[in-house]
């Protein structure tokens, strides 16, 4: 007999006690492989478990993200936590509840269908039966596998799902408790800073230990293994000073620096590529149809997490224990096993909160740094905290992209054939995906693994994400040119390729509407048959009092954009109103989102607001530059050379959620990026009467475009 197909990540983790246990009378512990990244996911899991187990939220403790007890759910990424993680937890709870009801029925001598549960107590005809989860727990084997047959609670009966629940993690952050990995203090802990290898293959020349020790003004020790060099000591200030000084007192050979040319996306067009076509071949003959072509670009973008990465490790009695704020403790364990040449069973990885990461930042690498040092100091806990400049330079970047859109238009000016041609580096550079932990690259005998594969199309694709329009177009395809060799490490940033792809696609739709003298909103609706897509488009327009005749030019404009994330997740339509003089000032963003079932309404709003502001920051300001002076290795930069949106620059935001009682929840963390980017692009075009197709839309770019006109 085949195993049942279970919801979400329950398939890979079918044993019920991986998800739910009853540790003491009155209490329930649920485990999740998802980790708290500031998105409030643990609170949402508590809501789901409480509802499906028919108990109050206060009975449920959420345990998250270790390699011992939590289920292996891979990465907390891709807006998947609710979509695949919460549905798995919900079904596990429903199956557990069914087991308890069956057991209670056997004891009482009635049918399970006659029984109900009230805050954990088994009731019959509204009266207590004297049984509850905890009296029955000893007789129930939770090492059994989920069957998926436990009836899930009806959406209409939800008590906590869809209702407000204050975030579990916020108070510690507001009252200044030890909320973050950075705040951990282990007995006998030493501090460490790594003297970073500027690039893979660079070798240490000379180390001026005396100069570094003088700068430290306190005792420090050097740990060296191949080209991995770290400074360790009891006093964090001394270690910090030594780490900063070491940048100028350690010389490197075989240094390769990224060049200013490489910082511009058009550099990609001159590189060797690995090519593929997704969809039917592009027609050689347009068959009399008019051809439309536009090119869009975006530079490298940083995650720019507010806290530099931090990792702790202790190697004791043959076991390596690691504390990390990474997105996937199991993949990190596998990568550490290769780096440290230990069996995975000899490594324990625990998640502890860091600051928001928005994708693959330096978290995994900082954990590896700590573990590499801890291997050489058995019994001593090691804490590595990256320097700000180190995080900015060495975190993997979101790769630059060029997107060329070609469309063949029918007689009415509607697209009949659509090609998105993409040049991009890989958006998947996570450890375990064919890439290395940074510290590993400096160790003796390092051999680079074969290049990482792309994110599969089934998972939404990487560079190709959202390149295909959801609109009614007869023939669509993606031509993908992957550029393997990149000037810096590249990997996943919130939304992956969707930001640039939706920017290109939705700016083109506006241009096509303009070409036939149509309101861009009406034009979109004329090629949209998906009713949920139409609903968010119409809602966003209504929220913003969209006026098809609103005059443009004169430096004031409004823009529209829409996308369904990965073409299979949440729907999002956005209207942006802004002013442009030399630079852009955002006035208001209206957003209509259909994410299906909403577990935590305020949590969803918070994610959407954050996504909108971060996307606005990418579009207005953010590009990693390689043209700064640097004494060693890649150009250093900080918050002055890599500014992000400030409090005085954020727009008003109004959000409406649609379809929140649907059975199926859809993740929202990444849904806004593309639509916000494109709506800003369209609004700038409306305000100026000319279009800027290269991101970011900086003051310099806008001025240059205006001068060219």
């Amino acid at each position: 007999m085949n195993a049942p197909v279970l919801p979400g990540t329950l398939n890979d983790n079918p044993v019920l006690e991986r998800w739910v246990t009853f540790p003491a009378p009155g209490t329930i512990t649920v485990n999740t492989g998802r980790v708290e990244l500031g998105q409030g996911v643990l609170t949402a899991m508590q809501q789901v478990a409480a509802d499906e187990l028919f108990v109050s939220m206060s009975r449920v403790t959420v345990h998250s993200g270790d390699t011992i007890e939590a289920p292996n759910e891979g990465y907390t990424a891709g807006s998947q936590s609710i979509q695949t993680g919460a549905v798995a937890l919900r079904q596990a709870c429903a199956d557990v509840r069914a087991l308890f009801l069956a057991q209670a029925a056997a004891i009482i001598g009635c049918k399970a269908s006659e029984l109900g549960i009230r805050d954990g107590s088994i009731v019959r005809n509204g009266l207590s039966t004297g049984q509850d989860y905890w009296t029955l727990a000893g007789a129930i084997d939770l090492s059994a596998k989920a069957t998926g047959t436990g009836a899930r609670k009806a959406v209409a009966d939800f008590m906590t799902i869809g209702h407000e629940a204050p975030r579990l993690d916020l108070p510690a952050k507001i009252f200044g408790d030890a909320a973050f990995i950075h705040d951990m203090k282990l007995d006998g802990m030493v501090h460490a800073r790594v003297v970073r290898q500027p690039n893979r293959g660079a070798t240490i020349g000379a180390i001026d230990e005396a100069a570094i020790k003088r700068a430290a003004k306190g005792p420090v020790e050097f740990i060296k293994n191949g080209n991995f060099l770290a400074i360790v000591g009891d006093n964090e200030t001394a270690v910090d000073l030594a780490g900063a000084a070491a940048v100028n007192h350690v010389s490197w050979q075989n240094v390769e620096r990224p060049t200013p040319l490489q910082q511009e996306a058009n550099w990609l067009l001159q590189q060797p590529t690995v090519d593929r076509v997704l969809g039917s071949p592009e027609p050689a003959d347009p068959q009399g149809r008019e051809r439309f072509e536009r090119t869009f670009t975006r530079g490298f973008v940083a995650h720019a997490s507010i806290s530099p990465s931090c990792g702790l490790a202790l190697y004791k009695d043959g076991v390596m224990t690691v504390w990390t704020h990474c997105q996937g403790v199991f993949p990190l364990r596998a990568a550490l096993a290769r780096t440290l040449k230990l069996e995975p069973s000899a490594i324990v990885v625990n998640h502890v909160q860091g600051s928001g990461c928005y994708g693959h930042n330096g978290a995994d690498d900082a954990a590896a740094d700590a573990a590499i040092i801890a291997m050489q100091k058995p019994g001593t806990p090691v804490r590595v905290r990256w320097r700000r400049e180190e995080e900015f330079v060495y975190e993997p970047k979101s790769p630059s992209m060029v997107v060329k859109v070609r469309a063949l238009l029918d007689a009415a000016g509607k697209p009949a054939d659509w090609t998105a041609e993409i040049w991009s580096g890989n958006h998947n550079g996570r450890p375990g995906g064919g890439s290395s932990l940074l510290g590993e690259e400096a160790l003796p005998g390092y051999v680079a693994p074969p290049p990482a594969g792309e994110v599969p199309e089934a998972a939404g694709g990487g560079a190709t994400r959202n390149a295909e329009p959801l609109y009614d177009i007869a023939d669509k395809r993606i031509v993908h040119h992957k550029i393997v060799e990149q000037p810096v490490r590249v990997s996943a940033l919130r939304g992956l390729g969707a930001t640039a792809n939706v920017f290109a696609l939705e700016c083109c739709i506006d241009e096509l509407a303009e070409r036939v003298g149509q309101d861009p909103l009406a034009y979109r609706l004329s090629i949209t048959s998906d009713p949920r897509a139409r609903a968010v488009i119409e809602k966003a327009a209504a929220m913003a009092n969209w006026d098809p005749k609103a005059p443009g030019g004169e430096g004031h404009g409004r823009g529209f954009a829409f996308a369904r994330y990965k073409n299979k997740a949440a729907y999002c339509a956005v209207v942006v109103e802004l002013d442009v003089e030399e630079a852009i000032s955002l006035r208001h963003v209206w957003c209509a989102t259909d994410a299906g079932l909403v577990v935590s309404p305020d949590g969803v709003l918070n994610q959407l607001e954050g996504g909108i502001i971060q996307a606005a920051s990418w579009v207005l300001k953010e590009q990693v530059r390689f043209d700064n002076d640097a004494p060693t290795g890649p150009s250093p930069f900080d918050w002055e050379t890599y500014p992000v949106l400030k409090f005085s620059e954020v727009p008003e935001i109004t959000i409406v959620l649609l379809n929140t009682k649907d059975e199926v929840p859809l993740g929202v963390g990444e849904v806004t990026g593309g639509p916000v980017a494109a709506a800003i692009g369209n609004a700038v075009s409306h305000a100026l009467g000319t279009r800027v197709r290269d991101l970011p839309l900086t003051r310099e770019r806008i001025t240059a475009t205006l001068l060219k006109e």
């Binding site: 507001i174 928001g356 900080d638």
Partner: protein, 158 residues
């Protein structure tokens, strides 16, 4: 070892350091166990490490402890506690004003300094007062709403 005496959150402290240039932030976090003030950049750019020194907002990551002798320092722990929250802290909870929350301690301190000087700030004044604090998650509007709410509560109580 050199000793420096100052006050933190209303209590007299006496700190001995090898290096007089030790940043106030490291003293708070590593010597005094007050980890609520966070390290963000060490470059006085992001505001995660904001504290009040004699009621003025100061980035503590590069402020040498030797300059603290005789001064009065207030950190986020000194604003209030879960049992007795400062109106700002209560408003941040009420508005669920934060995502990852790493920036919040510094922002609460900047907001406290603003409300001491200006009990009725406009949204624009709040924004400008917080421009020295970076929030990367995009919780800005919630944070500004929370500051407005706390200001109203504090005005009503005074």
């Amino acid at each position: 070892m050199t000793q420096f005496d100052f006050s933190v959150n209303g209590k007299a402290v006496s700190v001995s350091v090898d290096n007089e240039a030790t940043p106030l932030l490291n003293v708070l976090r590593n010597e005094l166990g007050l980890v609520g003030t966070r390290f963000g950049c060490g470059l006085e750019q992001c505001g995660c490490c904001m504290v009040l020194v004699d009621d003025a907002p100061v980035k503590s990551c590069n402020r040498e402890v030797s300059t603290m002798a005789g001064k009065t320092v207030t950190t986020v722990e000194g604003l209030g506690s879960a049992a007795h929250p400062h109106p700002l802290q209560q408003a941040f909870i009420d508005e669920q004003a934060g995502q990852c929350g790493y920036c919040l301690a510094g922002i609460l301190i900047s907001a406290k300094a603003l409300l001491e000087k200006n009990p009725s700030p406009t949204r624009k004044e709040i924004a400008l007062a917080l421009d020295g604090n970076i929030c990367r998650c995009g919780s800005h509007n919630r944070i500004m709403r929370a500051v407005e709410k706390a200001a109203a509560v504090m005005r009503a109580a005074s």
